[in-house]
């Protein structure tokens, strides 16, 4: 098996030329370039390709300087045992900075080989030329490989090397296809996620509840206990690992590691409360800080005091995410001598140092092999998961692969921090800028690798790093200028994200100068040019204005509205200055953005962007173009919709519904303008085009609406509030989730269950009295028999019995999940305690093998055990009593003909007095009539057949009829709707809430296939019922449909159903004004893919929510159930599957989503009340 980094490349071949330098940290040499005797070239760079295509661009640089074809060059990135330590891949500096030594090394090697060739060919160097590694002169030639031969040549990298003149370039500056895409497009091994090592196990980590918070005394010290017995049943579980607050599970198979991580019971100390991050401004002002003046020029205070028009402004940037599409993954192989880690890290050498600290081993013992990962735009969880994998591998001395979940990546990735920018400034009387006094707050650091904190290897002290200063100095030559960075520790886990602090700082600079221009009555571009001194900047601004056809507008004109839509255009410019202050600059960038704002809905769409960039020399112009387009799209997404949400103690955005990113239909048209500067040094292009984004869009929204938006993202809520003239205010915090310590999610609930409380207690006392009276009757045991021989029953009888057992759902209750059929043991929760279903296989001792038919019949009709004990009416003998003798005999035959299985029955765990079974005799006296089914002569035979099936063994009413306080079906409310197992069993009569009334055909379709196009799919406790019905012939299903259909007086025919469905779907296809926008976003991110009417077809059904009965019900229970738990076992796989969202959405989010769905898809129905309570109750598995 090929394992990356352990390949044959590693061994030194005989004969090579290397260009090296003494190692920075230990070891002998770091190699930049190696040419082997076969003429192949390997180039080594300490940076990594984050998806930007730098691997290709670096290859071009090497090929150019060496005069070899690009195909001959292999670029090796980020393997710590092979590449030079060049620091982290940040600040777009690979081409600008870290490619420089590689370029020199290539030139140096070429000079060396040319000199050697001159000697060999006895010609002056000037007479030689090189073409693809072949040196020619006077009709003679010699190749690079031949010149190297068997010799090991090592050149030390020289400082001064003559490199090629740019005019001579033939490879650099040409667009070439990326070398990595064919492998990625065909599924070759490319990503760290694809690494498979022999003997590899699968690990998952379980993170602490303080999700996304990495500083404070509680970090690393909050875990109280791990209950390893809670995962004992997981197949192939290898280990549970705990070190401080670090917890991981390891299993032979990945899905079992997933199960173990979900199932592992942990107890944690309470999690401290965070500052309220729904109000970023207050939180950041309250965060302790140290001012650091970056520049002070002129007399700012005097100028401000003298300003004709003071204009103090505050700009706010939200918390945002990298939101990598692939959650981080790593593989580690910890052996005594060597630790090998396959990682998607952005900084292999720094990670290696972290791992050395974590393991207390020398860095030289650790080899970090870097593979590609999902795009990351700064620091995501790539390092964290590498450390996680190392810890798990060390625990079991086997290779372990760790894959973070979506929820973990979202919650724990170091965020791009919120940022607060204050500007004090204003205009002089002549419209010039009086002063610019800028203060910025950026609560972020480098986010220490998580395992170091969770294991206590380093102290969880929030380090202050000085990174708020990127592009903090505006690009304009203001006479009176002061810029102060208020350095501060992070509030939640944060590190650098594309554009770092420069993007927010530029949002302020470029919004502010637009505000100044408006107040001064000067065209915003003209106004900027008055203060811009940099010639290349001026060229770029002019070029972009020309390209976009910018019309100067000294005074904002109210746009002509197109219905509710107003359009506007905005400009912004930035020179991205990054790295340690004062830093240096990457490419210049300028935007002109066109927006359309819907004044009724608040929706903003960016319709077109002209993005201009001066990148200096472009190594691979197509690569630069793609970077510009990518930056425009990603930063548009950030400006319009991206904002991390928080609960009071952790990150709340844990899936794509809660953190939406831009999708295809919303992508703007992009016109890229790349200034030809091939004679200038290359500049970083990985981030620059993001930097003007937010300001250009904000300025365009101002142009469209006349309203300034100084806080991101520009969501419909914010736009509508702004248009209404509301001051931005912090939204009210939602109440913290109610904690219920007695949570027991997923517990089975029984229809027999009734509401707890006073009524039940009083009722129980009444029943107790009756029961005591009735219990005076003598018990009557029926004598045991020898198990009947199956051969006494005919095959036809047994087969008929099999169908009846299916109709009666015997196996549904009498089988535990994944257990032996009908061997019992399934827990049935009731308000009075827990009952366990019994073994109904024909085992003599533990089953019903010694039951005579009369004993069986009495149990079915009267609810009495063979030994005379009363059975609890959780067993629906009240329905079974209606069954004919012939059918009961067939059922008996079927059960007796099955294989006996010895499984002991569990005693019911009921509290006094309910543990006293004779009580049930009283219940029967009150509520049970053991009468046989009587056909209605006024009805058809098929109707009567249906009635017999439904009322008898089918026992539909057991769930679908309401029950009284004593748990008996209410007289006079047959099939009028009930509750079962935490689900609503909807009314099957005309009381149905379905927007399209049920009719016979739809009932037939539903009972036969599990789906009705006009109602939805069977889920929850109904799914196994329909599955069981598969054993019944069509005629019986039809009969049931006829009977049930007769309760629906309003039934309509197919054409009317179709018309009504179309009307409902069209009515609900547009957003209702009152819809919760947070709910809408959750729907679009999480639900619409499978539920949007007319969406792209996917495997499985596409239930239409507008028609779904559950959206129209009086209670939200079924909707909540299905969102929380999904549909893992549909009636048939043709219907498809639905994931559960219980671990991905908070109660707040679920409540928003449920409210939205109700309002949007059942617009005629009143809003549900008590949604939060219902969510909490259903999460805990408590019945209504």
């Amino acid at each position: 098996m090929a394992v990356p980094g352990v390949a044959e490349n590693r061994e030194l071949r005989a004969g090579s030329l290397s260009v090296v330098r003494p190692a920075v940290s230990g070891g002998a040499f770091e190699t930049f370039l190696q040419i082997t005797a076969d003429g192949s070239v390997m180039a080594f760079n300490g940076h990594v390709d984050l998806g930007t295509g730098i691997q290709t661009a670096l290859g071009q640089i090497v090929a150019e300087e060496l005069d070899v074809s690009l195909a001959r060059v292999v670029v090796v990135l980020g393997d710590t045992s092979r590449v030079p330590n060049q620091g982290p891949t940040i600040a777009s500096e690979t081409i600008q900075i870290s490619a420089v030594p590689l370029r020199k090394a290539s030139a140096q090697a070429r000079h060396f080989l040319l000199a050697r060739a001159a000697e060999r060919l006895e010609l002056p160097v000037e007479d030689l030329s090189v073409e693809d590694g072949l040196i020619r002169g006077h009709n003679r030639s010699v190749g690079y490989g031949e010149l190297i031969g068997a010799e090991i040549i090592r050149l030390e990298l020289a400082d001064e090397v003559q490199v090629k003149a740019t005019e001579a370039y033939s490879i650099v500056g040409q667009s070439v296809p990326r070398t990595d895409l064919p492998a990625k497009a065909t599924g070759e091994l490319v990503f760290v996620h694809d690494v498979r090592v022999p003997g590899m196990l699968h690990g998952r980590v379980v993170r602490p509840p303080y999700a996304g918070v990495d500083a404070g005394a509680f970090v690393g010290t909050s875990l109280i206990a791990v209950d390893e017995t809670s995962v004992r049943d997981i197949p192939g579980l290898v280990a549970v690992v705990r070190i401080g607050d670090f917890v991981g599970v390891i299993a032979e198979r990945e899905e079992n590691a997933v199960k173990a991580a979900a199932q592992l019971k942990l107890s944690w100390k309470p999690v401290p409360t965070l500052p309220d991050l729904k109000d970023v401004e207050t939180a950041l002002r309250a965060n302790p800080s140290t001012p650091r003046t970056l520049i002070e020029k002129g007399d700012v205070d005097a100028a401000l005091a003298g300003a004709a028009k003071p204009m103090p402004r505050t700009y706010i940037w939200p918390y945002q995410m990298h939101a990598s599409i692939g959650p981080s993954c790593a593989v580690a192989d910890y052996r005594d001598g060597q630790v090998r880690v396959w990682s998607g890290t952005q900084n292999p050498h720094i990670l290696r140092a972290d791992l050395a600290l974590l393991l207390r081993r020398a860095e030289a013992d650790i080899d970090v092999i870097r593979l590609e990962a999902a795009g990351c735009y700064g620091r995501n969880c790539a390092d964290d998961v590498s450390a996680d994998a190392v810890l798990l591998s060390r625990a079991v001395c086997r290779p372990v692969r760790v894959q973070l979940t979506r929820e973990q990546e979202h919650a724990w990735e170091p965020k791009g921090t919120a940022q607060l920018m204050d500007v004090k400034g204003g205009l002089n009387a002549d419209g010039s800028v009086a002063a610019y006094d800028f203060a910025t707050r950026y609560p972020s650091n480098s986010a220490p690798t998580l395992a170091l904190l969770l294991t206590g290897a380093i102290a969880p002290i929030p380090v202050v790093s000085e990174m708020g200063d990127r592009t903090a100095i505006p690009p304009y030559d203001y006479d009176n200028l002061r810029v102060v960075a208020h350095d501060m520790p992070p509030i939640v886990r944060a590190a650098w994200l594309r554009g770092v602090s420069a993007l927010p700082n530029t949002f302020a600079h470029e919004s502010y100068i637009d505000e100044l221009a408006t107040e001064a009555g000067v065209d915003p571009i003209e106004y900027r040019l008055r203060y811009l001194r940099d010639a290349r900047a001026i060229d770029l601004v002019n070029a972009v204005a020309e390209r976009a056809g910018w019309k100067p507008r000294p005074v904002r004109q109210e746009p002509v509205a197109d219905g509710d839509i107003v359009r506007g255009r905005g400009f912004a410019y930035a020179l991205y200055v990054h790295s340690k202050f004062p830093g240096y600059s990457a490419a210049w960038s300028a935007w002109i953005a066109d927006v359309a704002v819907n004044k009724a809905t608040g929706d903003v769409s960016v319709t077109r962007v002209v993005a201009g960039q001066d990148s200096g020399l472009m190594i691979n112009p197509d690569g630069v173009r793609h970077q510009i387009q990518g930056n425009v799209i990603q930063s548009t997404s950030r400006a319009l919709m991206e904002e991390v949400s928080f609960s009071r103690n952790s990150v709340a955005s844990r899936e794509w519904g809660a953190y939406p990113i831009i999708t295809f239909p919303d992508i703007p048209k992009i016109d890229v303008l790349m200034l030809p500067r091939q004679d200038q040094p290359p500049l970083g292009v990985g981030e620059s085009a993001s930097v003007p984004s937010a300001a250009a869009i904000a300025n365009a929204i101002f142009d469209a609406t006349g309203v300034r938006f100084r806080e991101l993202p520009f969501t419909p809520e914010r736009i509508l509030a702004g248009l209404r003239g509301e001051q931005p205010s912090a939204p009210h915090a939602l109440p913290a989730a109610a904690q219920n310590p007695s949570a027991s999610p997923g517990r089975w609930q029984n229809p027999f269950a009734v509401r707890r409380g006073a009524v039940a207690t009083v009722a129980a006392l009444v029943a107790a009295g009756i029961g005591i009276a009735a219990a005076i009757l003598p018990w009557r045991s029926i004598a045991p028999i020898a198990r009947p021989d199956a051969s006494v029953f005919s095959a036809a009888t047994i087969e008929r019995g099999r169908q009846l057992a299916a109709l009666g759902d015997c196996a549904v209750c009498h089988t535990v999940t994944d257990g032996v059929l009908n061997a019992g043991g399934r827990a049935i929760e009731t308000p009075f305690g827990t009952i366990y279903s019994t073994n109904i296989t024909p085992d003599i001792e533990t089953g019903i093998g010694n039951w005579s038919y009369p004993a069986f019949e009495r149990a079915m009709r009267e609810g009495i055990h063979r030994d005379g004990r009363q059975l609890y009416p959780a067993f629906p003998y009240t329905h079974f009593a209606k069954t004919t003798d012939a059918d009961l005999q067939a059922l008996y035959a079927y059960l007796m003909a099955q294989a006996p299985v010895r499984v002991d029955n569990r005693e019911a765990a009921l509290a006094f007095p309910f543990n006293w079974r004779p009580l049930m005799a009283g219940w029967n006296a009150l509520f049970h009539r053991a009468d046989a089914f009587t056909p209605d002569p006024a009805k058809s035979a098929v109707w009567n057949r249906g009635a017999y099936l439904v009322e008898g063994l089918g026992h539909c009413g057991a769930c679908h009829s309401p029950r009284n306080a004593l748990g008996a079906e209410k007289a006079g409310a047959y099939l009028a709707g009930g509750f079962a197992e935490g689900w609503e069993a909807p009314p099957l009569t005309s009381l149905s809430h379905a927007p399209i009334p049920w009719n016979e055909d739809e009932l037939f379709a539903y009972l036969r296939s599990g789906e009705s196009r006009f109602h939805g799919v069977a889920a929850g406790p109904m799914a196994p019922v329909v599955k069981e019905l598969a054993d019944l012939p069509d005629e019986d299903i039809r009969a049931m449909a006829v009977y049930l259909g007769s309760f629906n007086e309003a039934a309509i025919g197919k054409p009317d159903q179709d018309a009504l469905a179309a009307r409902l779907e069209s009515l609900t296809g547009t957003r209702t004004a009152s819809a919760s926008l947070a709910g809408l976003r959750l729907y679009e991110g999480a639900c619409a893919v499978c539920h949007q009417v007319g969406g792209p077809p996917l495997f499985g059904s596409r239930p239409s929510l507008a028609l779904n009965s559950n959206l129209h019900a009086t209670v939200p229970d079924n909707l909540i159930q299905v969102i929380l738990h999904g549909i893992a076992s549909p009636v048939s796989s043709d219907l498809g599957y639905m994931p559960g969202f219980k671990d991905s959405m908070s109660d707040d989010q679920l409540a928003e989503l449920v409210s939205y769905l109700r309002g949007q898809f059942a617009p005629g129905k009143p809003a549900w009340t008590g949604i939060r309570t219902a969510i909490s109750r259903i999460r805990q598995g408590i019945s209504r």
Partner: protein, 159 residues
């Protein structure tokens, strides 16, 4: 633990897999069959990185248990074509350089394949809608749409 094996047809070949029936198809494809194409992205069917074709329909393999795949034809990126014999859709994505990091690429290609199988000549608007629920974070959307148009034979109009 021993359990009955599950028979799957993937890329035209039959595989007997020893996995519990509720195991997500994605894990079986990646771990048992050692296929790299389908990627874990969210586990909730939201992002599309795990897309495969089941009986010719796009399917999110992270939310479909293997038990539901018995008797069906599963096609992954590998089954579509290889570096040396790519499917026209793969070819179009390579030609248009339609990826940055490439993690979403599997889903984009497989979803495009499903689109072209039901609608060989989609308009650009139809392509945008077909890919609406496939997320790309790097911002390769423009190149991706061009690739879809190229694969649909619209190469001339694409430029």
């Amino acid at each position: 633990m021993t359990q009955p094996s599950i028979r799957l047809t993937v890329n035209g070949r039959i595989h007997d897999v020893n996995a519990a029936g509720d195991t997500a198809l994605l894990y079986v494809l990646r771990n048992d069959l050692e296929l790299n194409g389908p990627k874990y992205g969210c586990g909730l069917g939201e992002c599309g990185a795990c897309t495969v074709l089941i009986d010719g329909l796009a399917a999110r393999s992270c939310v479909i248990p293997v038990s539901g795949c018995v008797g069906r034809e599963i096609l992954t990126l590998e089954g579509l074509g290889s570096r040396h014999d790519p499917d026209p859709v793969q070819d179009a994505f390579i030609a248009e350089q339609a990826a940055q990091c490439g993690y979403c690429l599997n889903g984009m290609i497989m979803t495009t394949k499903a689109l072209l199988m039901r609608n060989p000549k989609p308009s650009e608007a139809e392509a945008l809608e077909a890919l609406r629920y496939n997320l790309c974070r790097c911002g390769a959307h423009i190149e991706i749409v061009r690739a879809v148009m190229r694969a649909a034979g619209h190469a001339a109009e694409a430029d």
